[in-house]
Amino acid sequence: MLVEAQRNRGALRRVTGLARSTPGRLSLVALLLIVVSLLVGAVTAWSVQRRSDALEALADRSEPLAFAAQEVYRAMADADATASSAFLSGGVESAALRARYEADVAKAAAALSAATSEITRSPELTRALSTLSGQLPVYTGLVETARAHNRQGNPVGAAYLREASTLMRTRLLPAARELYGVETGNVVRDLEDAGSLPWLEFLLGVLALVVLVLAQRYLTRKTNRVLNPGLVVATALTAISLLWVLVASLLVVHNASASKNEATVVDLLARARIATLTARGDETLTLVARGSGATYEAEYVEADRALDDLLGRLRLVNGTPPVVEAVEHHARWQQAHREIRAADEAGDFTTAVALALGQDARGAATAFDALDSDLVDAIGTARAELTDAIGRARAGLGGTVPAVVVLALLAAAASVFGLWQRLKEYR
């Protein structure tokens, strides 16, 4: 212990002794410059890397996962609406409706396996995901039982379909909604991480420059030369590094804010599409319940109001042709729905069903299909723009980290070289 303390004191004395002589001070300045350049370089590189990681997480995980979650939700809501339509149409369901239902189930299962692949990223989703993957086979089992009974003319088939629909509405869809909410939240969080202003990088760069300028002034006072070439080069390299980082980061910030707008549009569109499917399911189930469907009609009104609101907001932020058409088709559907309700309430059930399911241009089915395909188009475009913006942001950061590291190393080397020139004079 005693020996150790003596040794420490010896080291301290050596450093203070070094500081008393000019060559010693020059050596200390060189050391300081090396440390500052390397430290600033390392921290800046780490900060840029973090931004780049956030973008990578966004492009490779959260955005695709949010899309997968949206697909899970959409496919399940569509499967439910399609199954009720098939039932309402009577007899054995049409090949088209059957194909649509099968495609929905396949899509839901595939999207679910994509959504489940990153389960460790959002542990709070464990319950929702296990509900989704556990109950989807139960749901399809019930629908198939309903089909088997329908084909034999047993009215109990309708009860199985009701049970399936209840399962969908009370367990599967809420879990899908939770999944979608969390994954969309992850997208927003990653976008915010990537789009934060580069204050740290800026302050560190300025710090390095200030230290270099101070060192230069110290040298000017100690020696008679105005400029030290090594330090000038080091200062220039540090400034280049700072500029590079700032330009690249601000480019990312700019693209991230564009992405955020696109992400909002995608979210609004996705929610509009889900509201569309929910409203369609409710419209059909109101007719299936035949006079005892007041709760379904109330749910339709609620979904339709949400859809109206979402389309209104979309029109403000994104007036693209598919969105404008969607608004138009929605108005047509609302008109058709009013006619359906009027016919049903007047006791004309057959006309009401024909208006709801028929391929008449005035009917609800046509307007609903048109609205849905408008939303699909709009989602496709908005999502392509979102991934483009993220891609542009990532491109901006390409090569920044190695450049920062190399520039920091070169700046340190230049500083040492510059001071070495002066130190040599004391030999």
Partner: protein
């Protein structure tokens, strides 16, 4: 000393393994699906336990005379109002096979109850199709009539004294009785063998009240529609269904792995139900029922839906 510290550090870190952050797989306990609104009752429904009052629920209002010809309803009567409207609004069921059900192929409502509604429409309009069907659940039958949303309810509805206070009934058009349906491999032989077991019936039905008040204490499970009971029986969520033999026959026809057992332990005389105010309509329909019993229509309809017809129920009147 230092070596000891190194060994200690190794031991300590060796003792504290870092657990995986991956969540467990889950799904250990499957959650079976249930029909909407299915509940296991812990207390008897409010309609249960009402003491049978000193009334004969099967006695209805006497017809005032012969039926007026179709399309010529007496002015100011309920029937004239319905004729004016152009359609009869009837509350029926679409879930009770053979009584009132939706034919999965055609999408049309069919059954014994539905055919009787068509006879009523034929008597008013001369057209058995001038009907707006409204599907009502067991629970909604009385409230729908009280709100005046339907002209008539023909939906396996038992005439009881308690219900007579809120609605009017026609004379009895079918004499049903409550029995028990169990899986064919069950060794239960009657309702009293079901103590502590789950027995399904619809909300607001007299069957549910009868199950809940049995002294052997079966556990009543209430659902919205009759077919929900069959779903729960097939999924093993209930041990039996107990209701009128007419409804049970419909279940047995849909599932060959079930059997109807035990004696009729409660008489369930079916009547058509009307809003309390529409007494003239009740008398009109009672006159119609007299005719249907006499001219063989009743027998024909029974043969079509429920099999070999017994003697039609005898009309009882309270004037």
């Amino acid at each position: 000393m230092r070596r000891l510290l190194v060994v200690l550090a190794l031991v300590v870190t060796g003792c504290a393994p870092v657990p995986s952050g991956a969540p467990p797989i889950g799904g250990g306990t499957p959650v079976p699906p249930r029909p909407a609104e299915a509940v296991e009752l812990t207390a008897p429904p409010s309609t249960a336990g009402v003491p049978s009052e000193s009334c004969d629920p099967t006695a209805s209002l006497r017809p005032t005379g012969p039926l007026p010809p179709p399309g010529q309803m007496p002015a100011g009567s309920t029937m004239a109002r319905i004729q004016q409207r152009g359609r009869l609004i009837a509350g029926v069921d679409q879930n009770t096979y053979l009584m009132g059900f939706r034919n999965p192929f055609s999408g049309e409502l069919e059954g014994f109850d539905v055919d009787l509604v068509r006879e009523v429409a034929r008597a008013i309009f001369g057209d058995p199709g001038a009907i707006q069907f409204t599907v009502v659940t067991s629970e909604q039958r009385v409230p729908t009539l009280e709100r005046g949303e339907v002209d008539i309810v023909v939906r396996t509805m038992t005439a009881t004294c308690e219900r007579w206070r809120k609605v009017n009934f026609s004379t009895v058009y079918l004499q049903a009785g409550q029995r028990v349906l169990v899986p064919s491999n069950s060794d239960v032989t009657d309702i009293d063998g079901l103590g502590g077991k789950r027995v399904c019936a619809t909300k607001g039905s007299s069957s549910l009240a009868n199950v809940a008040t049995r002294p052997t204490k079966p556990v009543p499970v209430a659902v919205a529609h009759w077919t929900d009971c069959l779903v729960m029986l097939q999924q093993g969520q209930v041990d039996a269904i107990s209701t009128d033999d007419t409804i049970l026959a419909g279940f047995a026809a849909q599932d060959p792995y079930t059997k109807v057992v035990g004696p009729q332990f409660a008489a369930e005389p079916y009547g058509m139900a009307f809003p309390k105010a529409d007494e003239d309509f009740v008398r009109f329909v009672n006159a119609l029922l007299e005719r249907l019993r006499a001219d063989g229509t009743w027998t024909r309809l029974h043969q079509r839906w429920l099999g070999d017809p017994p003697v039609p129920p005898v009309a009882v009147y309270r004037d």
